[in-house]
């Protein structure tokens, strides 16, 4: 039974963002060897245009909601929302990479092509309605990330990051694949909506098949690794510290969003009827993730590593919304993710600039007196840190507020109390950097370098977005709610 060619062709617009990203990536790959070293920068701009085109083509895909390619791909408001966030994060990371790569002498077409391929993979993850399709998306984004993490070939930390990420990442992928096999064995389908139908149609007297529960557990291990939640977080600080900083900005943001999207689909749609089984797993993982992330960050003197730990902590806050098991919880998680991406990419891009050549200046002490020397950059960084900390007027505050509120509505009080304690712990290490910037004596050996136009533009967008989400959240929140509603949820709770 081969579907009609016409039907297949008609589906192309539903995967338009992925097609655009891949085509631009391929063009960059093939043009790269023919371009002189001086012209490589243009490839970066080409990649940026590619990302913007992909963003525009999301708009095209949004006009044709529905399933594509024999139900393998799902274009709903959920997938559209995640696509916009992921591709937006990638374009900011590309803008931030241009001058960094120039300074490190790493300006190469492969870099941009890999970023685009990774983004295409994340797009597939966001829209997958089938677990093997999701697996392909996960691999596309992961394999590109492994290479990107080791892009500073001469730097040992970068090598370490790449090898660690590759070994543990492949291991986690194997878990995910094994989980798919188990679920398939139990339910006879790998379609996310098909699993839901199968589990719902089980007679009430019958328990969930043990094989399906085992499969769900394995899928949680595989995806938990990629979104960096405890107890699978051990690799993250090393990888985030060792990878080139713009790559860290990408790794800490976009893959998390895409993988969380898949996790939401698998847990809420496929296994929505088994919510009583996974609730405590999420609860415990959330508590562990928050404590490990925040306590780990407390100990750091390296700002990049500190931000790495902080991104673990944020995955914990998102799990709080996840545990709520309501459509509002999903909306809160999506809102949180969009705010998180802006502030995290912004913060890492500031670190990119201040690290200077060879990423030498990463310690908190190196940030001393920045408020006097580069007031605008310092103000920008403070905004991102305040948002990460969760102070009002920033997107991070409202993200936390909605996440905790949805958990409270679902009567998960203790988890919210623990999350509140963690937010207070977080204040210490974020404020320490801000205090260093404004109240410490500036170091004498530091001569500030002007921020390049491309990087300033990226920082400006991230800062404006953080403020926008903090001041006028309604629009994005409505979109997030519509996205949550578009998931074919069972009546939760």
């Amino acid at each position: 039974m081969i579907p009609l060619p016409a039907e297949q062709l008609l589906n192309l617009h539903r995967v338009a963002p992925e097609v655009v990203l891949c085509v631009f990536g391929i063009v960059i790959m093939v043009v790269d060897p023919f371009v002189q070293a001086a012209g490589r920068r243009a490839l970066g701009w080409l990649a940026f245009i590619g990302a913007l085109t992909a963003l525009a083509s999301v708009h095209l895909a949004a006009h044709f909601p529905g399933r594509a390619y024999s139900d393998l791909v799902n274009v709903d408001r959920f997938s559209i929302f995640v696509h916009v966030v992921v591709i937006g994060a990638a374009s900011l990371a590309i803008l931030g990479s241009l001058d960094y790569l120039e300074g490190e002498g790493l300006q190469r077409g492969e870099y941009y092509a890999l970023v685009l391929f990774a983004t295409a993979g994340m797009g597939i993850l966001a829209g997958a309605n089938e677990l093997v399709t999701a697996f392909i998306g996960l691999e596309m984004s992961s394999i590109s990330s492994y290479v990107l993490a080791g892009f500073r070939r001469r730097a040992l930390p970068s090598n370490e990051a790449s090898v660690k990420y590759f070994l543990l990442g492949s291991f986690a992928t194997a878990f995910f694949l094994y989980g798919i096999a188990m679920v398939y064995g139990a339910t006879g389908t790998t379609l996310i909506s098909g699993i839901q139908t199968f589990l719902v149609s089980l007679p009430p007297s019958q328990h969930l098949p043990a094989l399906a529960i085992l499969g769900l557990g394995l899928i949680f291990v595989g995806l938990g690794f990629k979104v960096v939640v405890a107890p699978f977080q051990a690799y993250a600080p090393d990888v985030y510290e060792g990878a080139p900083t713009p790559v860290t900005a990408l790794l800490a943001s976009a893959p998390k969003v895409a993988t969380f999207a898949l996790m939401l689909r698998v847990f809420y749609v496929s296994f929505g009827s088994a919510q009583h089984l996974w609730f405590w797993v999420i609860w415990i993982s959330a508590v562990l993730t928050m404590f490990i992330g925040n306590l780990g960050a407390l100990m750091q003197t390296n700002v990049k590593r500190m931000l790495g730990y902080s991104s673990i902590a944020h995955a914990g806050y998102i799990l709080v919304a996840f545990a709520a098991s309501t459509d509002l919880g999903i909306a809160a998680a999506l809102f949180y993710l969009s705010a998180y991406v802006l502030m995290k990419v912004g913060a890492f891009l500031v670190v990119t600039h201040l690290g200077q050549q060879g990423e030498r200046r990463l310690a908190v002490a190196d940030y001393a007196g920045l408020g006097m020397k580069q007031p605008v950059l310092a103000a920008c960084f403070s905004l991102f840190l305040f948002s990460l900390l969760g102070l009002p007027v920033t997107g991070g505050f409202l993200g936390k507020f909605f996440a905790f509120q949805s958990a409270l509505d679902a009567k998960i009080v203790w988890l919210v109390v623990i999350a509140g304690i963690n937010s207070v712990i977080g204040a210490y290490y974020y404020l320490r950097v801000i205090i260093a910037m404004y109240f410490w004596e500036p170091s004498q050996d530091y001569t500030p370098t002007p921020v390049a136009p491309a990087l300033s533009a990226a920082l400006l967008v991230a800062a404006a977005g953080t403020l926008y989400l903090g001041l006028l959240p309604t629009r994005v929140l409505v979109l997030a709610k519509a996205a949550a509603d578009s998931l074919s949820l069972l009546s939760l709770r």
Partner: protein
């Protein structure tokens, strides 16, 4: 032979699922299992018999690692060019391309022009990869 495992509820989807298997399905594999046991048993018996019965006399020549009858020249764990890995990788890549061509060739007549265009696109993408490799000097052995 798999017709009884095709999911009738969703035609076009060939689920050979564990749900549809009954215990008798596994019975057809019994001879295979028997063969594995026999093979492993025979190998085990032969090795055990020669260790138990045979004479053990070690000489310098005998204890040398076997290298196609040639006198060993050094440690096998010598570092060798990373280029071999690259070539192996490229080989796998294009090997898989060839594998995908087989199912396409099988249904070529049903897919008509659409299948042709689709496959040409696929080969074009791999061709781009080939050009990239070539220009980057991955095939250069000097």
């Amino acid at each position: 032979m798999f017709s009884e495992f095709i999911d009738r509820r969703a035609p076009g989807r060939y689920y050979i699922s564990a749900l549809n298997m009954d215990s008798s399905y596994l019975d057809i594999y019994a001879p295979l299992l028997l063969m594995f046991i026999l093979a492993a048993g025979l190998a085990g018996v032969l090795v055990a018999a020669s260790t138990l019965v045979g004479r053990h006399k070690h000489t310098r020549e005998k204890d040398q690692p076997y290298e196609c009858g040639i006198t060993p020249t050094g440690d096998a764990r010598a570092p060798f060019s990373v280029h071999f890995y690259l070539v192996a990788l490229i080989f796998i890549l294009f090997d898989i391309e060839a594998i995908f061509l087989y199912p396409w060739a099988l249904v070529y007549h049903e897919l008509k022009v659409f299948g042709f265009v689709e496959m040409m696109l696929y080969i074009m993408i791999l061709l781009v990869g080939y050009i990239f490799l070539w220009k980057k000097g991955a095939l250069d052995w000097s």
